[in-house]
Symmetry: C2
């Protein structure tokens, strides 16, 4: 009863090194070993543990798993080991069918182990059928009612099964299915649907409404976690395909393209400075303020961007309110621009040779943070309306915007007021 | 059966404007209106809909809700309306007890509607009890067995209830509870626990092991979504307390402190430029390359940071491997530094007055991206080891690091090689 004292088997296995772990798995009863496999995260590499016990025992372990977990592990195996394990399988055709679905589709998430009864049966007969069909005892969230051709017709509430008289027909107590998904639907859509309808399991049906399998809440929690990783990486300018534990070569391949994009936009900022070379050579103090004005603009823009990207992702930003959001972010930028601009103006006025330098940096900071608020809200909203993912690369465009505007303001005002 | 055609009530309500929505809710049957309230997201402001129908009907609607949803909505009400609604409540004491738990604790997430039976009862008696206790039919994930003093003793698998003979005792068929939580535990811990044990519901018990309530998977999906928002905002330099739809004043309060921190660090970068004023006044072309070298370093550092922060958050970075990770990121930085440095060297060599400028920008870019890889991995790992959240403000420190090093390299090398 005290969770601190009840260590799950996976935690124990995770603490062992690879050879000890393989030996431990080989010693465990099949049920315990396969349920430990099912609970391991992808990053813990269950497939390596599997390879260490040899193809015969590996096939036996994988056959014990729910089909979704089995397919996930088989996907991770190198081709020759995959063949060795599959050849030991009794129901190879079913697993191969599941392998054809994309990993991030509903088909890739679903398990084919569902409890389904005929809508024509009585509840007593249904309970008999459940007794036969249900192998695992503790994840019976929904019992499905199907017609003679396997088409999903309804769902039987568990309480009805327990409390209604056994003579009643399934058809009489079943309820409409609140939501179904097709195997080709994206996993993020499935996660949103389940969160919206608060259902612990959602059935997967084909185009003929035939029941193929079901997806349970635990798979969806994994999807939401993976999404978080993807969003943060995209925001940081890393391709979401980059595996968190990728090799250095994989990391280079995923990041270099974005660095080249950033380089192109950085040349724009450099070009602005190029235009003002004569101003800088005469008032070299302006060069000191360049990174400060640009850096603060970039930071304020990223703040506005993070809030806007997240609102778009959560669908919390109806189209009609876009203008209001952009306006709010510009107001925030203007206020923060005055608050930080006053500080830099004071420092520049005191340390500079002329007090007008203080006025120049105040106006540049204020203007740049106003622009940062605009760009941080406008760019992701524009990308979303163009059908482009607003998270990806937004930060590169926003910081280019603030760099260019910051330099234009600082050096332009400097050229006018200081020369 | 076609989900596209079955619009949930909440979607219809969300599409209405505020007065029309209040009128629609007032017209709906109590059950339908309260289940629509339960499915609304916090950002859709269910409490506003509630206020519009008046305290009497509001109290009636809220009493229909599961206690966790009821408490969530009551929390959002302004104090005087909260009092008006609570005074209409039949079981005011229970709701006030729940209001004492922090919103992001297990106590704040749990609902007190659990189905519990005595461990001494027979299954037949238990089924009678379930019939009495269960009001909602479709979320009976677990039936709990308690002793005479309300202490949680086990969980009855649903299949056992259905298929075992009614004469058997609860005590004989019940299984050990895989995991329990205390009301004061943090919601993130609860989410991780449920994801780890793949359970649709987890019981909440007090220090005396007495059953207080349960938390279901749908609350946990909301927690994981909220965490995603928090992580992205922190990464973007916004206080995670900032409500996504906060007013401009709220946004200023949450962001201005970070901008001041950033300003302090930006002065460091400015100070480096200050030291090299005479170099810039003689080779003003260096000022053109300043934003390019610094910007690329900041970008590469943010990439390394995003990957490292996410690995730390997922606990995928064992302490022993920290050095390896830092080393990998430096290698990635070095490779990307050469790849992008070659391009800038070419441009600088062609456009500059002397070809040595190309060498200077090549070395500065290479060195700064190497430093960026180091800082992007080292800073969050250091913060984590110091017990500080590595996501927050990391990006400010990383970009300061790359600004300072970028200017030092570019201007220092320029001073040596170009003068």
């Amino acid at each position: 009863m005290t969770p601190e004292l009840e260590l799950p088997l996976t935690a124990v296995l995770a603490a062992l090194d690879e050879p000890a772990r393989a030996r431990a798995v080989a010693e465990l009863p099949v049920e315990a070993a396969s349920s430990a496999l099912a609970e391991m995260e992808v990053a813990e590499h269950p497939e390596e543990m599997l390879l260490a016990v040899g193809p015969d025992y590996a096939a036996e372990l994988v056959e014990e798993l729910p089909s979704d977990d089995a397919v996930d592990i088989i996907r991770e195996l190198p081709p020759e080991d995959r063949e060795a394990v599959l050849s030991e399988f009794e129901d190879r055709a079913e697993v191969e069918k599941l392998l054809t679905y994309s990993e991030d589709s509903a088909g890739g998430l679903m398990t084919t182990e569902v409890v389904a009864v005929s809508e024509e049966a009585s509840l007593g007969e249904a309970i008999e059928e459940i007794r036969r069909q249900s192998e695992e005892s503790d994840d019976l969230y929904q019992v499905y009612a199907v017609d003679g051709r396997g088409r999903l017709k309804g769902v039987i509430p568990i309480t009805k099964l327990i409390v209604a008289p056994p003579s009643r027909r399934v058809r009489e107590v079943m309820e409409p299915v609140p939501a179904v998904v097709r195997p080709e639907q994206d996993q993020e859509q499935v996660a949103r649907l389940m969160a919206r309808y608060n259902v612990a399991a959602v059935p997967v049906v084909d185009d003929g409404e035939r029941l193929l399998g079901r997806i349970t809440f635990d798979d969806v929690i994994d999807v939401v976690e993976a999404e978080t990783t993807e969003d943060l990486l995209k925001f940081g300018g890393v391709s979401p395909e980059e595996d968190l534990s990728a090799s250095w070569l994989g990391a280079v391949k995923s990041r270099l393209p974005w660095l080249y994009v950033n380089l192109l936009t950085a040349f724009l900022a450099g070009a602005v400075v190029y235009l003002f070379q004569s101003t800088i050579s005469r008032v070299v103090a302006l060069a000191v303020w360049m990174p400060i004005i640009a850096g603060m603009g970039g930071n304020a823009g990223t703040q506005a961007l993070a809030v806007t990207v997240r609102r778009l992702a959560l669908k919390e930003l109806p189209k009609g309110r876009a203008l209001g959001v952009i306006w709010k972010e510009m107001l925030v930028g203007a206020v923060n621009g005055i608050a930080t601009g006053a500080v830099v103006a004071l420092v520049a006025g005191i340390t500079g040779e002329v007090w007008v330098l203080g006025l120049v940096v105040l106006l540049a900071m204020w203007g740049n943070l106003l622009v940062a608020g605009f760009a941080g809200a406008f760019i992701p909203i524009l990308l979303e309306n163009l059908g482009v993912d607003p998270a990806i690369a937004s930060s590169i465009f926003v910081t280019t915007f603030t760099d260019v505007c910051g330099f234009l303001l600082l050096l332009g005002l400097g050229a006018i007021l200081l020369m």
